[in-house]
Chain length 110, copies 2
DNA sequence: CCGAGATACATTGACAGGAGAGGTATTGCG
DNA sequence: CGCAATACCTCTCCTGTCAATGTATCTCGG
């Protein structure tokens, strides 16, 4: 119970938006950054990562373009749109509220 | 995006465990308590509430018994088991970690 | 030069929790 | 009597996560 999958649900979008708010990036690197930023605790699974990219792009929150690598595997880069940036800010604000609410519901003093 | 359903996922169990940690109670009242404790922000839907009771009871985290109401509708009371109490404590500890981790991933200073 | 591991992207199908919609029954009040 | 409040329950759908699987390129040790 209370496994990472259920906790994650609803947060992946914002986690990716947060990564992109620091500059354009691509799947593999974002996955690594998240792992590092979470102190090795959160591994975004590839299937989750790429379906999330599709979802966010379809919603107009991010845009993608192929990098022009001279060597190595091709990379699909992602960029935040204006709407994506707004969503990111909204989600952060929401999180502040939810965080306090959940703590209260859990019977914790914060 | 980021709707309440997705945020809720993974937390309903602990929310109910928290309510029961204060003493035996039943569905309708728990639903009201949660609504109040969340400042009117979170309405646990009945379908969610009762499926969660089933899940927690099947897992041995809570036990139920019928109250002996002289009048009014029957009430099915729930009680925390020892395992349920332990789970509640674990989930609170997990939440402290997740909360910090998500804030960090969102690019927030906490 | 060959195989293994890292880099990099992508899809399919299964699973599980939340919730809309529908149902039952009792009590009390206007 | 009709309606609101109390109180319980379940069927079915939706959606996000993930295991499994597949592709291709590059690097490095042996």
């Amino acid at each position: 119970m209370l496994n990472a999958s259920d906790i994650l649900r609803g947060y992946t979008d914002t986690i990716i938006l947060a990564q992109l708010s620091k500059g354009d990036s691509y799947g593999y690197v974002i996955s690594r950054s998240v792992l590092e930023a979470s102190g090795g605790e959160l591994q975004l699974k590839e299937a989750t990562l790429y379906t999330t990219f599709r979802r966010l792009e379809a919603a107009g929150m991010i845009e993608s373009y192929w990098g022009d690598e001279q060597a190595g595997a091709r990379r699909r880069y992602y960029r935040l749109t204006e709407a994506g940036r707004r969503l990111y800010e909204e989600n952060k604000a929401d999180w502040r509220r939810y965080r306090a609410m959940i703590s209260a519901l859990f019977g914790m003093e914060e």
